[in-house]
Amino acid sequence: MNTVLVFLEAKSGEPTRISLEALAAGAQMAAATGAELAVAMVGAATGAGFEMLGAARQVFAIEDPLLSEYTADGFTASYAQLIEQVKPEFVVLPHTYQVRDFAPRLATRLGRVLISDVTGIAMDAGKVTLTRQLFQGKLNGHYHAVAHAPTLLSVQAGAFRAEAATVTQASVTTFTPNLDAASIRTKPGEPFRAAAQTVDLASAPLLVSVGRGIKDEANLPLVKELAEALGAELAASRPICDAGWLPMERQVGSSGQTVAPKLYLAVGISGAIQHLVGMKGSQCVVAINKDENAPIFEIADYGIVGDLFEVVPALTAAVRKAKG
C-alpha cells in the first residue's frame, strides 16, 4: 500500500505548529490518494509529543544519541534510511530553517529533487500538482514530479491549517538508524540569542515606529506600551530623534537605520520619502494616521484612519487580551 510519510520537527519534545500543518497537508494527500499516513519524528518513543499524533497509522520515533543535536549529516542519513524502509509515495516536511538545511541533501541522496515551500496541493486523477511561490510571491508556479516515488515536498508555514489534535493511541515504532559518528562532519554549538543590550533595529522582527503625530514627548509612553505589549522594538522617524525625544539610534530612514521587520507598525508617521526608504523592505506595514491621504497608506498592508490617541490605547488593550 502507498504511504505518505510526514517528518515532524520537535521543540522540547512537542511537534511544532508548522509540523502539525505539514501533518495536515500529508493527511490531505493520503486521504485523496487512498494512501496510508505515516509520521516520523526524532526523539524517544516514550516522549509526550508522540501522544498527539494519533491521526497517523504509523508513528516512527527516530532514536539515536547522535541525533540529540541537529546536524545535516545525521538527519540526512537517518531520514534516508527510514525512507528506504517505508518506501513512501510522498514525503512531506515542514519548510523550516532546519528542513531547508538538510532536505535538498536528502532528496539528492535519493536521486530526487525536493519541491520546497509548497503553498498548495491539488490532486486530480492521480496527478498531484504542487504550487509554490516565485519572485518573492509575485508569481505562482505549478509543479509536478516527473521521477518515480518518492516525491519530496516541504510546506510553507501557514499554508495549511493544523487540525485539532485528536488524541488516539497510535503505535509508536522506534527506528534506530545506522549512524557513524565519523560521518557527521559538522560540530554545532549551543544556540544563543544575540546580545540584547544595544538597540538593533535592523534585526528586530517587530517594530513600532512613532512619528510627528505623537505631538509631544509626554505622549511617548502611549506608544512604548504598545511596543511592550507586542514585544516589539521602538523606532521613530527623524523629527522625533531630532527633537531628542528618542536617541538617534532608533531613527529609521535614509539618514538612520534601514529595517526589514516582519511587522512595521507606523504610528503618526505621514511617510516622507526619507522614511519610506528606510522601511520599504518590511514584510507587513500597518499605518495609523489621522490623515487618510498620508502617503504611508500607499505602502501599508493595513491602515487605520483615526486619532492615534484613541486607536493606540485600544490596540494595546486588544493585543494584551489576545496574548492572554
Partner: protein
Amino acid sequence: MPVVSPIFAACWLPGLTLAEPVHFSLVEKLLLAALIAASGWLFWRRFGVIARRILAARKDADFHLFPLGRRCWDFFWEVLCQAKVIRERPLPGLAHAFVFWSFLAFALVTANHVATGFGVGFLDPGGFFGRLYFLIAAIFALACAVSIAGLFVRRFVVRPVWLAHKDKTVSWESGVIAGLIFLLMATYLGAYFVPDGSLAVRLLWWAHTLTLLSFLPLVPHTKHLHLILSPVTVFLSRGGFSEIPPLADDDDFGLVTGKDVTQLTALQVYSCVECGRCTEHCPAANTGKELNPREIILGLRGYLNEFGPASEESLLGRWNSQQAAFQCTTCGSCEFQCPVGIEHLPVIVGLRRGAVNTGEWEDEHGGKLFLALERSGNALGMAHSEREKFMAREELPMFDGSQEYCLWLGCMGGYDPKGREIIRSFVEVMRYLGTSYGVMRREKCTGDPARRLGNDLVFQQLAEANLETLAQNKVKKIVSICPHCVRTISEDWKAYGTPPEIEHHSEFLARHQARLPKSAASQTGQTGQTVFHDPCYLGRYRNVYEEPRAIVRAHGDLVEAERSRERSFCCGAGGGLAFLGEEQGARVSETRVEQLVATGATTIGAACPFCNTMFRDALASRGEGAPQLLDIAQIAAAALPTSVKESDSLNMQEERREEK
C-alpha cells in the same frame, strides 16, 4: 570731456612736472644693471620652479584654445574690468581694482623709469605726451596709495574672518607687499614735489628703483603670484561652470595622485590669492564642517610644493582629507565667486572620483546609494513598480512620440510624496494649457548623485541607458521639475551622446505665464509675502533667476532673502549629500531655512524637489508658526480654476469658441 579737460589744462601748470635725474654715472649704471640682474635672478629662482611644476603636470586632454571669443571676453570682463572682484565686495573690490589699474598705468612709467637709469628714457616729462601720461599715472598712483592703505587697514585692523588662515593668522607678507606698493606710489608722487636737479630727485629715483626690485622677487614667493598667473588662469579656464573633465584614458580614475593633476589645475592652484571668497560662501564651511574650499586649493598647492606633479603619493592624505572632499554639496558658490578663475568643482569632484572609482571611499550610506542606483536605477532604491502605480493613479499618458514633451519625473517626482505633489500640480497646468506630454516607463535616475560623488561607472551606465531609451521613444523635448535632472541631462550626458532639448518647469511656466490665470491675493488666501529660494542647479548652474520669480510675482508679493540669486545659499542636498546620512556641524538645510524665515515671509517658494524635501524636514522642527513651503508649480496651479480636466484644457475651450 569734463574730467579730461582739467587734466589737459593742468599739464601746462609749471609746478606739475615730474622731476627726473638727468645724468647717471657709469658706476650707477653698473649698480643698476647688477641690481636688476639680482632681482630677476631671485624672481626666476622661485618662479621658474613653479612654472616648471605647472608645465610638468599632465596635459588637459579636453583642452581647446578655440573659440577665442569667450576667452577674450572673460579676460576683458574679469581681469581688465575686475568685475568679479568688485561685484562681491564692492568697496575692497574697487580698492583692489584701482591698485590693479595703477599697475597697468605704471607699465609704461616703470619701463621709462628703468630706461632713464641707462640714459635712454623715452618719455619727456616736459613734453606734451610725457606730461599728460605722467599726470594720469599720478592720479592712479594717488588712488592706488589710498586704496592700498585702506586694504592694509582692512586686513590688519578690521580683520575679516575670511582672510584669516586655518590657524587664524593673517599673512604678514601681505603687509610687506602693501608697504612696498605704497612706497612705490609715494616715491613716484614725491618726484612732483622736489626741485629739478636736486639730490632729492636722485634719492627718490633710487628709492623707487629699489622698491621695485625688492617687489619683484617677492611676487612668486607670496600669494601675489596671482599678479602674473591669474590673468592667464582666467584666459585659459575650462569655460563651463562646474565642468567635470572627461577621463583621459583607461588609467585615469580622477584625482588619485599627483600624476592626475593637470596643467590647468596646477595653474589654478598656484593662482589662488587666498581671498577667502569661496569659503565665505561655502555652505559646508558656514555650518561647521571640515570642508573649506580655499584650504582644498591650498592643500593641493601644498601637495605640489612637497611632492610635485609626478608623485604617486595619494592626494587625499596629508594635504587634503577625504572627509572634507565628501562634504561638498557642489553648490558652486566657491567657483562662482572666485576672482582668479579657479574651478573648484572639477577639483573637489575630481578628488571624489579618485576615491570612488578606485573603491577607496567607504561609506555606509554612499555604498547603499551606489548599489541602489546599480540595482534599482533610482537613488532611493525603490521598486519601479511604485513609480508605475503612481503613473497609473495619476493617469499620466505614456510618451509615444506623438506628444510635444517628455515629462521627466526624476527620482523625486516618481517616488517622493512631496515630489509627486509637484508633478501633480505641474500636470494640472500642462493640461490647462493643452500641452501634450507623456512619461516614460523606463526612465532611470539621470545619474546626478553618482556624477557628483565621483562614481563614473554608475553615471555612465545610467546616462547611456537613459539616452538609449530617449532615442527609442524619439523624444525631442523634455521638461523636468528638477534642476539636477536638467543640468545632468543637458550638460553631463554630453559625454555619452546627444541629449534631447530640456528645460526646467520654471522656464516653461514663465513662457506660458500670459495664458495662465493670475491670482488675486484674496483668491488663493495668500496674505503674506513669498520668499523665493534659488536652487543652486537652476541659478548658478543654469543662470535662471527671473523665470521662477515671474511666477511668484504673478501670485503674490516677492521678497528676497539676504542671500539670493547668484549668492543663494544651498539647501544641503546637492552633490549626492541628500543620501549620505547625518552631517557634521549644523545642518545646511536648517541654516538656510533660518535665513529664509528671517525675511518674515509666510511662504517659501522652491523650484527643486531636493530643496523642497530638505526644507520640509527643517521646517518641521520649527513647529506651528513655520512658513508654508510650495513649489512654483503648486503656486501656479493654485490659481487655476477648480477641477481642471483634460477635457477642459485651454485649447479645447478655444476650439469650442471657434466652433461657435
